[in-house]
Amino acid sequence: MSPLIELQGLTKDYGSFRALCNINLQILPGCTGLLGPNGAGKSTLIKVLLGLVRASAGNGVVLGLPLGTHSAGIRSRVGYMPEDDCYIHGLSGIETMQMAARLNGIPATEAIRRSHEILDFCGTGQERYRAVETYSTGMRQKLRFAMAIVHDPELLILDEPTSGLDPQERVAMLNRIRILTRDFHKTILLCTHILPDVQAVCTRVVILAAGQVRVSESLELLSQLPSPAIFVHFTGSAERFQTALRQQQLSSQLQAPQQLQIPGTAEEHSSIIWQAAAAAECTIRSLLPSRNSLEQIFLDTVRQVQHAHS
């Protein structure tokens, strides 16, 4: 798989403040989560990728086009959903969509058809005929997403796509992102603070802190623990279950009231665990290989950076 975004030694200074420092990064096809604490340089990185700001040093290629010299070409093939609550005053939802489509070069009649089609895909009903300034935060969020995909871009940069959405809409939005990646092979850069969203749709993660790339790895690899362990979710008495496991010479660690982590692999110990559960009168709800949580990875990375700075 060849990378769609390739950055080499990218640096961006705002006066004396260095927002991005020697970024070397490759974004492969698929969905990549871009994480980082506030002020890590995520927005600056997005602006550099879109050609809205010029990098102070370094170079990069987006969709095969060099940064800095082919900004218009890059933007015509990239869809960007900004985090800010931005809209064009005085236009209805469908007019805003048409305008976005036509600014991307879609002919007028085709823009109307495409706008309706995308708004249907995004679950926007008759409210598309209302003025955008009367929309709720969630509706504006959906409209911004629709505007980002109206021209069928190859690369989508989504900045906090699920913030401000109710749980049902959040699931629907993640589904749309999944459909675009899985069925239409779009490359998505998902910039968010909601880590479960990243776990739900992303295959790779980039963690940015203090203007530098700290982690750039597949989620599968990152989630693996240094030594294998089994994660057991059960119902019943945890004390009795742990006692039964000890009798079978298995150590265990209680992670949550109904969750245990047991060292070893499922192939080795699953039958013993089932026996211990039966002896302790517990019901096993799931038995899975234990993984590092993304939250833990993120916190560890940020702590390392803070330590290094202090």
């Binding site: 218009a72 015509s76 931005c86 064009i88 005053h89 600014l103 879609i106 239409f184």
Partner: protein, 323 residues
């Protein structure tokens, strides 16, 4: 949920050239502005003077020296309407003389009369529509984009600051042209059609170019200035206030200074009022017989005003992307 939901579909059509994208911004701006009922009313009133002047051309061409009633009507209208500053104003003190002169040298007198009408249109009627009209439509054009942070929606697409400004300027120029260039050109066309034969074009063709030049002399500085004011504020009412203040306070300052006869003749003082500057420049362009002192200063003022406004506008529009 629609009855037939095809879900997401890819799109692989031909796209419009990059250079034409500004037209989308212009078209959207025009459609949004046209929603204002005030604008539609103003547009109606903006065309009335041209219609009255068309009637005057009709009278001029149809009145014969032995038709006293028509002659009196034309004389009355001419005295009332024709700009006293134009070189033709002295021709309408006596209708008998005016008609005799018309019959003796029809070509030069016709040119004189038409240019007087056009000067009047540009100096005495259209500015009173132009100022409030731009005060209504231009202030929200950029300031509302600032307030609603629409810049990210525009500039994340393949357009540049130049396209954006061009689109907004085209929107303003469309409305300006529809109250200056369009009625004046239509008046000229009507005058040609009402005249005895199309051969009058041989002696009056220059007026069409003069109309274009006078319209551009108004449109370019007004567009640049009004858009700059809109870009300086995120609240459109402040931009409106600044727009009206420039015209009203400028005129008041000129009137105050002009009370002193010695100072009033000074060209620098007349530059205090944008209204006077535009009035003098359009009269100079449309009325070739008019002698005007130091017109270069006024032209330079308009050029400088346009250049400075454009520079500020570019800086303001590019600024949100730099942070």
């Amino acid at each position: 949920m629609p009855i037939h939901d095809p879900g997401y579909r890819t799109w692989q059509g031909c796209t419009a050239p990059l250079a034409t994208r500004w037209m989308v911004i212009a078209e959207t701006g025009i459609r949004r502005a046209w929603l204002s009922s005030w604008l539609r009313r103003m547009m109606f009133f903006a065309w009335l003077p041209a219609c009255v002047m068309g009637f005057m051309v009709f009278l001029y061409e149809q009145t014969s020296a032995n038709d006293p009633n028509a002659g009196r009507t034309m004389l009355g209208l001419s005295r009332m309407l024709i700009d006293p500053g134009s070189s033709a104003s002295s021709s309408f003190t006596d209708i008998q003389t005016a008609l005799e002169r018309r019959d003796q040298s029809p070509e030069s007198e016709r040119h004189l009369f038409w240019s007087a009408l056009l000067t009047t249109l540009f100096r005495r009627s259209q500015p009173f529509i132009l100022i409030p009209m731009l005060g209504i439509i231009v202030p929200p054009l950029i300031s509302q984009d600032f307030r609603s942070r629409a810049f990210l929606l525009y500039f994340s697409r393949p357009i540049t600051s130049l396209h954006y400004i061009l689109g907004k300027a085209a929107c303003v120029m469309f409305f300006l042209a529809s109250i200056t260039l369009a009625p004046a050109l239509l008046l000229f066309t009507a005058a040609v059609l009402l005249s005895p034969s199309l051969s009058v074009l041989a002696s009056t063709w220059d007026l069409s170019l003069r109309i274009l030049a006078a319209s551009l002399a108004i449109m370019i500085p007004c567009t640049c200035l009004s858009l700059m004011l809109s870009s300086l504020a995120s609240e459109s009412r402040y931009a409106s206030f600044a727009w009206f203040a420039i015209w009203i306070f400028g005129e008041l300052a000129w009137r105050t200074a002009a009370r002193s006869a010695a100072v009033g003749s000074n060209v620098v003082v007349s530059c205090l009022s944008l209204f006077r500057v535009f009035s003098d420049v359009t009269a100079w362009i449309l009325d070739p017989r008019l002698v005007m002192d130091d017109i270069q200063t006024r032209l330079m003022l308009l050029a400088a005003l346009s250049a400075v406004s454009l520079a500020v506008l570019f800086r303001r529009v590019s600024a949100p992307l730099q942070v």
